[in-house]
Symmetry: C2
Subunit: 399 residues, 2 copies
């Protein structure tokens, strides 16, 4: 039996029912929550019905194994604290459907997977990072979520399901379908994106420590205002980056805490996040230099002290050339002229997998570019087109 779009959509809607929020098609299904564990148990059941062997590893990553060494398809079924129905889930159910149909058809066998904690309740891509060996289980076990729960305690909730970690050479490569989570495919009218690279991320916490003072009695020239330092730093950075970045480079100050954060007090401290992303590791390093120089220079000019936290890095990951070609051929066959190559600005499990096996990714559009929100959505016709292209590529690459 070839792939069945109806069965695929039904399973996708069924998966949403685990942790379905009251808003739109929203989902609340964080890693290791009751909803997440229930969803994984249901998925394991669907795998078994399809003749695939369900296998949980110690992290809670769930594989649906074909009998032989095979191509692996999938994504993650955990969600953001307030997430949408497609982020991760789409790739998991597409993988299930394609592996199921391959089994039914007797074509070269395909396995599927749902990784755990891609959304970073604990780390970043926690499940695929540990399995790929980038992060040790011991280190990951010490990670805590915002409520102070450790990963060790939370994965203990799935202990009775857990088997061993699978060897990587059980698989010939990894394919992941995902929503774009950005506006590009929708705005250009292109239906599909073949991912070339997953961009690298650098993240650091910067603190400007000035002097907290009364906002009425402290003359402007005697202030050491941490917010003013931050504003000047931001302005300097935007200017200095201009000659370094490409149109695909992004940088963000998204988190900020002022202290004491009162309208009548000159802010004595500003702690903020500085994040930047690019597909080129050299450019990421050059930006890091500029950030550090600018922070020190602005701090000195404003009489504040700059504390630069450690730079957390995720390396850019190039997708495998043969897998890119396989996806491109399938897209051109089924949607001629309606696809294009593009980098991924968001992080995905395929970035972890690319360090241990050939990996490829296919994007479908996100309505309004919205993701990590209850109103994330994609037209079902586009989901089905993505499934068909992924299936065609998978059969070619598995063969």
């Amino acid at each position: 039996m070839p792939i069945d779009p109806q069965r695929f959509l039904e399973d996708l809607h069924k998966l949403r029912s685990f942790g379905a929020s009251g808003v739109g098609k929203g989902v609340v299904r964080q890693a290791y929550s009751d909803a997440d564990i229930a969803a994984r148990k249901w998925l394991a059941g669907r795998m078994k019905e399809a003749g695939l062997e369900p296998h949980f590893d110690p992290l809670g990553n769930l594989f649906g194994l074909a009998a032989e060494k095979s191509l692996l398809l999938g994504s993650h079924s955990d969600s953001q604290p307030e997430g949408g129905w497609l982020d991760g889930a789409l790739g998991v159910i597409a993988g299930l459907e394609i592996a199921r149909a391959a089994k039914e058809d007797g074509v070269p066998s395909i396995s599927c997977v749902s990784f755990q904690d891609e959304e970073g309740r604990f780390g970043v891509l926690t499940g695929s990072d540990v399995w790929s060996g980038k992060l040790s289980l011991t280190e990951a076990d010490g990670f805590a979520d915002n409520q102070g729960n450790t990963l060790a305690d939370m994965r203990g909730r799935m202990a009775e399901l857990a088997g061993e970690f699978l060897p990587h050479d059980r698989f010939t490569g990894f394919l992941e379908m995902h929503i774009e989570q950005g506006p590009y495919l929708e705005e250009t009218g292109l239906g599909l994106g073949v991912v070339t690279d997953i961009v690298g991320i650098r993240d650091m916490r910067i603190t400007f420590e000035g002097r907290q003072n009364h906002a009425g009695t402290t003359p402007m020239h005697l202030r050491r205002d941490a917010f003013q330092a931050l504003s000047a730093f931001n302005t300097a950075l935007n200017s200095r980056f201009a000659n370094v970045v490409t149109p695909a480079t992004v940088w963000t100050i998204g988190h900020l805490a002022l202290h004491p954060n009162a309208s009548s007090v000159v802010p004595g401290r500003a702690v903020f996040s500085m994040q930047w992303r690019d597909a080129d590791a050299d450019r990421l390093a050059r930006m890091e230099e500029i950030i550090k120089e600018a922070a020190q220079k602005i701090a000195a000019a404003h009489g504040v002290r700059a504390e630069l936290g450690p730079v957390m890095g995720i390396e850019p990951a190039a997708m495998d050339a043969r897998f890119q070609a396989g996806l491109a051929d399938a897209a051109e066959a089924l949607a001629p002229g309606k696809w294009q190559k593009m980098p991924s600005g968001a992080l995905h499990d395929a970035a972890s997998l690319a360090t241990v096996m050939p990996a490829g990714m296919l994007f479908v559009p996100s309505i309004g570019g919205i993701s990590h929100a209850f109103d994330e959505d994609t037209e079902e016709a586009e989901l089905v087109l993505g499934l068909q292209v992924l299936n065609r590529a998978a059969r070619a690459l598995a063969g």
Copy 2:
């Protein structure tokens, strides 16, 4: 008996014992707290012992009344959530000592007062604002603190003490001694400040509403980043104010909330406080125009929407010329060349009182300019010098 510096210091230390914090000379004695009410009951007892009639009004303002129409001296005995031992307390105990000594000496009589909630648990200068008639009791009763308690409920805790509001014409004028709460007197080596004006304050809440987006997948040119708009607004304001302000003008962005405030999300909303202070109402108005123009212009340039909240205003209050002269004469007599006239950048009860009677203020230095903090302090010799100057001026002005 003339004023007794030892008795004054002992009462000042005793007042600190109500709500004394574990840190330095810190005090935790917010309006209507157990510590505040206990302190007021103790103060009422000290007034009675001095032959002054203790009188609570419905707000909890505590007067120590001389038998006849008289000059009024005082300040407030409530503290900031984390306050020092002198802010308000100094003026209250100085008023008590001077009224007590006047009673003992049989010189023209003097009354004293401790206003309630100067520190704004509910409003701003709540006790003196209501008594002066600037704020109605009905309106004030609806005010809530950060925990959602209403003023009506909290003043109910003192209901069994409450008498009527006193008529303003019971008093010939008001004198207040206070710590400077700024660095000026210490840095110039001047021991005393005679206040000319209490600056006016304008406060508004501004919201920049942009679009919340994924920080990896949203290209820079498609972003509507509320933090970027705020930073540009701040830069524009600093530049545009340059030709309008004086060295005494101050402005502050002290409170800021980004939404959703996450390092991987382009901030969709920034809500922040914009506060500015000056002794000249026309300049305050000119600055308001600039703020509003800049906010709209920057918002348009950044594709965000600016919402400008209502402008909360406290008018500048000039101190009475005769009272200024009385304080200046006393300062020159007891500390020749060691005082000067200066505006007050902080708000004080004298600003409310100035709308209904002649008012004057005397400042003593703050070590390191520190206030609204546990480590607020002043040398005791300087507290006593302030007491002596205030007493000399009060006797001259009451005569």
